[in-house]
């Protein structure tokens, strides 16, 4: 049987056969490609055209006029302050800085917390391990739009859970006057070093996103931890390595390849996290917690400036591309550091 099969397999497939393979492959791919071509690729191309026109609400009507060609005006308006006159509190440098800091701070905390808690849950002899794991995964199962709206209420100055909790514990204990910080709208920023401005709302959003983000990191870390061969620890212990040395030499070596891709993925996801900014703080105060995605959405849904929105989306794409390439390079550099 194998003797018969070998010659046909090892022979180079004929041109006809290769064409037939390609045809079959495309038959399988066609439905998916068709949907993506119409819904994603065509709009992408159309986007490039729109970015050079003054497409807005009047061009949307079925018999409306064609938009005018405006050259690079839309792109220029992002940087030269023209957009700031239309969208309140728009400042591209500040928004971009905030967006990058937002994603970076979140991912670092998510990964560190996720790994730390995975380590705690991985301690041998820990009781109720399964119950704790089941509880910790709950935030992941809640739709982000609900997470955002619920946390908005959590930070309400008068009726929110945070302020009520503070007043009910510390406030009662030390007989303090009612604590009524308006977390999401407090106008005085904590960090104010232009272009980096971090209002109190940033820390509110951060709290919500840490709550939302660490559990999945913990799951990924747990998977990696379980792949560490136990005898490596025994060997390290025999060599006289302490807890910290064991963690650095054995645990981290196994964690890094699993956590790095996930951290990069997390960075992109957090960079584009629409729901928290849009629903929790509404971008406030003074647009200081707006992200590129929320601005892009406002340009379409509220301002109806489709031309400028298209230019903004293209700008956003290149920022993302640069960041992804940058983080990938960073990941490669750190991976080869002591591997």
């Amino acid at each position: 049987m194998t003797a018969v099969a070998v010659p046909t397999v090892s022979a180079r497939p004929s041109r006809w056969r290769r064409w037939r393979n390609t045809r079959t492959a495309y038959a399988f791919l066609l439905p998916a490609l068709l949907v993506m071509a119409i819904i994603t690729f065509y709009p992408l191309v159309f986007q490039v055209y729109m970015a050079f026109t003054d497409f807005d609400l009047k061009n949307l009507r079925p018999n409306g006029p064609s938009p005018n060609f405006v050259g690079l005006d839309n792109f220029a308006s992002i940087f030269n302050g023209k957009l700031s006159a239309i969208v309140p509190n728009f400042d591209i440098l500040r928004i971009l800085t905030f967006n990058i800091v937002w994603a970076f701070v979140n991912v670092v905390i998510h990964v560190v917390l996720g790994v730390a808690i995975a380590l705690v849950l991985n301690v041998s002899g820990l009781k109720f391990r399964r119950i704790w794991r089941a509880i910790y995964i709950l935030p992941v199962a809640i739709p982000p739009i609900i997470v955002a709206t619920v946390w908005r209420n959590v930070f309400d100055p008068q009726y929110g859970a945070v302020n009520q909790l503070i007043n009910g514990t510390v406030g009662v204990l030390f007989k303090l006057p009612p604590f009524g910080l308006d977390w999401l709208n407090e106008p005085n920023p904590i960090v104010n070093v232009y272009p980096l401005i971090l209002p109190v709302a940033f820390f509110g959003l951060l709290a919500a996103n840490i709550w939302l983000g660490w559990p999945l990191n913990s799951v990924v870390a747990t998977g990696a931890l379980q792949s560490v061969p136990k005898d490596l620890y025994e060997a390290a212990e025999m060599d006289g390595a302490g807890w910290w040395q064991q963690f650095r030499t054995v645990t981290l070596t196994y964690l890094r390849p699993a956590m790095l891709p996930y951290a990069i993925y997390g960075f992109v996801i957090t960079f584009n996290l629409f729901y928290l900014s849009y629903f929790m703080s509404g971008g406030g105060p003074f647009g200081q917690t707006e992200l590129l995605v929320t601005i892009g959405y406002r340009l379409v849904a509220q301002q109806h400036l489709y031309g400028i929105a298209a230019a903004f989306a293209i700008f956003q794409f290149f920022i993302l591309l640069a960041l992804t390439l940058g983080t990938n390079r960073l990941a490669k550099a750190t991976a080869s550091f002591d591997a």
Binding site: P31, V35, I142, P143, G296, Y297, Q316
Partner: protein, 309 residues
């Protein structure tokens, strides 16, 4: 001393795990670790418990004045099911819209995705690398990035008297398209781990490519199908961006997410928090239940697809 450890090494993984879990820990250390775990659990559960508590508040007041309501009643649920927003649309209608959207996205992304993933994983053809990279590029784009041109284009497309840019059908197509890159790559990653020998055996027995795919490959990748279906379902069930843009003018087509936006948005002042809380619980519950049921699959599907990239 050596004999039992060898025996342990040779036993089934499940037994080994049980033995390892039997490892004892000094009581004091155990207590400290349990305390840490409890503390983490409290922070995780706090917002959930608070919102559930609020949804049971029996007093019908607009804002809660205490963390724990003085009693419990399902009044808020009854009210929110009858008429969640200021529009005369019932919760059932909203949930039905969300459900249809979710089911459509789920079915389409799995069906179209697995076919394409199979071609990417098993076939050599012209343009394979180019197409895979093209799909990957789209994966990086946030869905909101093409929302403008998509809306502008779909508002001009009429299918059987329905303007796509003003209907949930258009939303379903748009969400499916944004789910497809993930579906394709995740399922391709999983298919790559299934040995080819089974299919070759089927081919030798005279099965066609399509038969092999349907009879041999599909049953083997049930876990990843379930995961992709789940993600598609959640994406559809919670979709806000496109839905709010496309169907905001027609309350009969509103989904739960669009209604939630109305609850917390401009009408926020007139919505009692207990109603908002009840709505949130009802909105989140189906997703949470399915997630907890499929958790094992979801986690393994995610890590396989993620690591293989």
């Amino acid at each position: 001393m050596t004999a039992p450890s060898i025996a342990v090494a040779r036993t089934e993984p499940a037994v080994r795990r049980r033995l390892r879990r039997g490892d004892s820990m000094p009581l004091g250390r155990q207590l400290i670790f349990q305390l840490v775990c409890l503390l983490i659990a409290v922070t995780v559960l706090f917002p959930i418990v608070w919102i559930v508590g609020m949804s049971l508040d029996p007093r019908n007041i607009s804002r809660p004045d205490s963390l724990i309501p003085p009693g419990a009643s399902l009044d808020a649920y009854a009210k929110v099911i009858a008429r969640p927003t200021l529009n005369p649309v019932s919760f059932i209608q909203l949930a039905l819209n969300s459900l249809l959207l979710a089911a459509a996205v789920s079915l389409l992304s799995v069906g179209l995705g697995v076919l394409g993933a199979y071609a990417f994983s098993r076939m050599q053809f012209r343009g394979r690398i180019f197409l895979m990279l093209g799909v990957l590029t789209v994966l990086m784009l946030p869905a909101v990035a093409t929302i403008g041109p998509l809306y502008v284009s779909l508002i001009r497309v009429k299918l059987g008297g329905i303007v796509l840019g003003q209907s949930l059908i258009g939303v379903a197509l748009a969400v499916t398209s944004s789910q497809l890159p993930f579906a394709l790559w995740n399922m391709k990653g999983y298919l790559d781990t299934i040995p080819k020998e089974l299919e070759e055996a089927a081919t030798v027995d005279g099965a066609s490519r399509l038969q092999t795919f349907l009879r041999v490959v599909l049953p083997l990748c049930t876990p990843v199908l379930a995961v992709t279906a789940f993600f598609g379902f959640v994406a559809g069930w919670t979709e806000f961006l496109m839905a709010s843009l496309f169907v905001v003018a027609d309350p009969n087509q509103w989904t739960l997410a669009v209604a939630l936006n109305a609850l917390v948005g401009q009408y926020a002042g007139s919505t009692p928090w207990s109603a908002f809380a009840a709505f949130s619980v009802l909105f989140a519950l189906p997703v949470m239940l399915v997630y907890l049921l499929l958790q094992r699959y979801i986690v393994s599907g995610l890590t396989v697809g993620g690591v293989k990239g």
